[in-house]
């Protein structure tokens, strides 16, 4: 929900369990930077220290004491440290524009929420996905994520082109970005694994990781997973562009 007065984007994730209390998580982001706003005293556990299972590709200097992704995740991880990944839950996601509801597993619901926390943390690697937070799609399938990631990247290339830069229409760098993100996902899963007694938190990151891992191959294979969806549209567009040619 965009709050024009406070210049914030607000989302609420509600986990409604069959046999247990409901758990709510309100996520507030700065509308323009899409950075997570953490208010009040936030836990700073040992596993959130930068040096604790630091990602192999972490570009942050030693002067940074805590991993920004880990700090963003600390409260959430604590809430689900004793939960099983396949626990059934109803997840309700409220944004300003709409409400999403899905009967799913805890790992699936958590992965959507963890995705927001990671991307909005200020981690220089995860920052590559920052615009996607504004167009957050809870419970996205692999295909939907591929489409959103490609759309985000190509939109950015359009802006680069307009500014006179050299756009990467081949998306060569997008595959590299996702390879770097996979390394971060692995690093975060190691931190979380040591902070959890059961597998819900880790498996939520595993879901994000598996989508991220497959993306470079999907790009290298020419987006063949979603290409058939575009065949008719591409034909129409080609005809239209031929007609419009002066």
């Amino acid at each position: 929900m965009d709050d024009e007065k406070t210049n914030r984007v607000r989302l609420v994730y509600r986990f409604d369990f069959e046999d247990g209390p409901e758990k709510d998580f309100a996520v507030e982001l700065e509308a323009e930077s899409l950075s997570l706003i953490l208010e009040g005293d936030q836990p700073k556990p040992e596993w959130a220290r930068l040096k604790y299972h630091q990602c192999e590709n972490c570009p942050l200097p030693d002067s940074v004491e805590y991993c920004p992704v880990a700090l963003n995740l600390a409260s959430l991880v604590e809430s689900f440290q004793d939960s099983l990944s396949f626990e059934k839950t109803k997840v309700i996601v409220e944004t300003k524009e709409r409400v999403f509801v899905k009967d799913t597993t805890l790992q699936k619901g958590l992965s959507a929420l963890i995705g927001i926390y990671m991307v909005s943390s200020g981690c220089p690697v995860m920052d590559w996905l920052r615009p996607m937070v504004r167009f957050h799609l809870p419970f996205a399938t692999s295909k939907e994520t591929v489409y959103r990631a490609v759309s985000m990247y190509l939109t950015a290339q359009f802006f680069i082109m307009r500014k006179g830069g050299t756009p990467d229409w081949e998306m060569r760098n997008l595959a590299e970005i996702y390879r770097a993100i996979s390394v971060v996902n692995r690093g975060i899963s190691k931190r979380i694994s040591n902070a959890s007694n059961k597998d819900a938190n880790v498996n939520a990151v595993v879901i994000l990781h598996s989508v991220g891992e497959s993306l470079p191959y999907v790009i290298e294979n020419g987006l063949n997973e979603i290409e058939p969806l575009f065949s008719q549209y591409v034909r129409q567009l080609e005809e239209f562009q031929t007609l419009m040619r002066p």
């Binding site: 099983l84 990944s85 396949f86 597993t105 790992q107 699936k108 399938t141 692999s142 996979s182 996902n185 692995r186 899963s189 190691k190 694994s193 040591n194 959890s196 059961k198 597998d199 880790v202 498996n203 990151v205 595993v206 879901i207 990781h209 598996s210 989508v211 891992e213 497959s214 191959y217 294979n221």
Partner: protein, 358 residues
């Protein structure tokens, strides 16, 4: 090297990612949503490797691993765990898992491990085939032939007609010693556990059973006469035809005849009859008029031939010959049965008849 892989995980995103990556690396893949689903899939298709998640609803990975190890020992299992719980991982390795991977999985590493596992499986299978072929060859063709030659030699030595000179008898003694040494070495090299697995069927041609039997019987006529054993075979020129390997079958009947001769003793008779009815072709070899000593020896040899777990070195010569015969008959999709009554012993060999004969 194409391997068939079953991916078992309750999370669809993970199943799809692994499936896509493995398929692009050349593996044949299928997926199951939990342990129960995996067991169902395994009932209907064979897989080289199962990638098995540990925490799943309905049937978890550890329970599924137990069933897979028991029901499908030829399938290798790699455990996937989202939680770096090494106690559980070690428990899985003890229960038969080949490896385990901690999620999130680096799919490039997964592919490397899968390829290495498949290479090991292929080498293991090739070694197994080689061992089976070697043991089968040593038993059927080497040891069987040595023991048959030895049997003939004994018959010759037992000839008391005085037709052999002292020197000839001495040479027979040397020959006997050499054959015994060869037999001992061959027995040491046979691994009976390899014989438990069915060897490849022998090359099949249309074979007339009576012709094969006649050849086998003829090769024993002199030895039988010298040993004082009567052999009766009424060959039927219009007898049954079967699909099989003439050399192999002749060897099998010679092995049975050789064992029969070694066990029957003076005064006994061996009746050889073809099966005349039904859709099966076959032969019944009956040992009659056996002495008490022969009866006992046959019982002993039968027990030995049945207990294939023993080392070949511990089997007596007739037991080896019966075992070798049974191997050959089974490689013809047939069945060999030995029955002992108070006064006789029958060895019955049933073989699938040639189609036109049924």
């Amino acid at each position: 090297m194409v391997g068939r892989v079953l991916i078992v995980d309750d999370e669809d995103t993970l199943r799809l990612t692994i499936k896509t990556r493995l398929a692009s690396a050349g593996f044949e893949t299928d997926a199951a949503v939990d342990g129960e689903d995996a067991i169902e899939k395994l009932k209907h298709a064979a897989f080289d490797v199962v990638l098995l998640d540990i925490n799943m609803p309905r049937m978890d990975g550890i329970a599924a691993l137990g069933l897979i190890s028991e029901m499908y020992p030829g399938t290798d299992v790699i455990m996937l765990t989202g939680f770096a719980d090494f106690t559980t991982a070690i428990e899985c390795l003890k229960k038969g898992a080949k490896d385990y991977l901690v999620k999130p999985i680096d799919t490039t590493e997964l592919i490397t491990r899968m390829r290495s596992l498949l290479r090991a499986r292929n080498s293991e299978a090739a070694l197994g085939d080689l061992k089976r072929t070697q043991s089968s060859f040593l038993l059927d063709e080497v040891l069987g032939s040595i023991l048959l030659a030895n049997g003939h030699l004994h018959a010759l030595k037992a000839d008391k007609s005085g037709r052999l000179s002292k020197d000839q008898n001495q040479l027979l003694g040397f020959l006997d010693g050499s054959l015994q040494n060869l037999a001992t070495r061959a027995k040491e090299m046979i691994d009976p556990s390899q014989l438990r697995t069915t060897s490849a069927p022998l090359p099949a041609k249309t074979v007339q059973l009576s012709k094969v039997l006649g050849n086998a019987v003829r090769s024993f006529e002199i030895s039988a006469r010298l040993a004082g054993v009567t052999v009766n075979f009424d060959g039927d020129a219009k007898g049954r035809k079967i699909e099989g390997d003439a050399n192999g079958l002749e060897r099998a009947f010679r092995h049975i005849m050789g064992a029969a001769l070694q066990l029957s003793g003076k005064g006994a008779s061996i009746e050889i009859e073809e099966l005349k009815s039904g859709s099966k072709a076959g032969v019944t070899i009956t040992l009659n008029k056996l002495s008490e000593r022969s009866q006992k020896a046959i019982g002993q040899s039968m027990k030995q031939a049945d207990a294939m777990a023993q080392t070949a070195a511990s089997l007596d010569d007739p037991a080896v010959l019966l075992l070798a015969a049974r191997q050959i008959i089974e490689r013809h999709h047939g069945m060999m049965k030995i029955q002992q009554t108070k006064s006789a012993v029958t060895v019955q060999c049933e073989l699938p008849a040639h189609q036109s004969a049924v």
